[in-house]
Amino acid sequence: MHEWSLAEAVIHAASKIVEREGLKEVREVVIRVGELQQIELEVLEFALTELKKGTRFEDAEFVLETMRAEFECRVCGHRWYFDAKELDERVQEDIHFVPEVVHAYVRCPRCGSPDFNVLKGRGVWIERIRGLR
């Protein structure tokens, strides 16, 4: 349920964008959700549906797109996809809250380094907002 606080952040940030862009009516908000954090999409969706009530987003559709998490090793250049199932549940939960702790638990499969970059698939992003001016 910390998905709730992420949903609040989305609504908050989306409001600022809508104001800045001067949108009168919001039709669609596309959210990109990185898989690193293993966010529960139904929970996030539920939170967005609850939180939008009585706001300018009441009639808007929130579209959730997921994105696989890809890493790149800074030592050997190897790229690979994150696979949560290789980690035990407790560690998955830790990464769920603070994705950066992945550097304590995951190593480059080629050279063993913890010094890798999260190329994509981290966090929750507002991809675009559609509406009428």
């Binding site: 349920m1 910390h2 709730w4 606080s5 992420l6 609040e8 952040a9 989305v10 908050h12 940030a13 989306a14 600022k16 964008i17 990109r32 830790d94 990464i95 809250f97 603070v98 994705p99 950066e100 702790v101 550097h103 304590a104 638990y105 913890p114 010094d115 981290r122 966090g123 929750v124 992003w125 507002i126 991809e127």
Partner: protein, 243 residues
Amino acid sequence: MVDPRRAIIGERLRGVENIIAVSSGKGGVGKSMIASTLALILARKGLRVGLFDLDFTSPATHLILGVGDLYPEEEYGIIPPRVHGLRYMSIVYYSKGETLPLRGADISNALIELLSVTRWGVLDFLIVDMPPGISDAALDIIRLIEGLKFLIVTTPSRLAFETVGKFMRLLLELDIRILGVIENMKISDSTFIQEQVEGRGVRFWGDIPFDRRLEETIGDVDRLLETEFAKKLKELVDKNLGI
């Protein structure tokens, strides 16, 4: 693409009256000891206090407080567990005893994540234990936390003050409030630091002597609060924070 987290941070800290970053630029001057003890002292006065360990790659406050096997609750966000009367947040909940090598960009990301999901509730004081260096963590809390105040720690050493002086200058230039400077681990009666601090128009809180017995109290807050170190810190707090 817009990262929605930054927009909510002000909201998350709305119920917090004072945010104090215990900082230095220099390492090993006693920031973690002072941040932890300061938080405990304020809590024992009956105030609502939080402590946030921001030294992600070398955290220490969990040892000083003797924090056991806790995990924050999830409830519309993350609720910092209560430890010795404090709301206590540290990355060690999630990194456990593992080494956590983080580049600056990761430190920045983890900080923003924690600030955007942690529900501190209503607090009189949130004490932030800062890492050494004038780098991502310091730059981020400066840009992300409005109304932040710094409490600066140095030792009497010229090696420490070289960096502390530079850090102070930066804060003054950016018009960020400095509550004062504590001279920790004092072993002589040189007035060098006091003169340097007051010469820059910053309040010198006073000094805390080197206390040989401090080490033995790590993990035992009742004994910690009985040390000369803690008693002297309490004096400085009473005098300078006016509460």
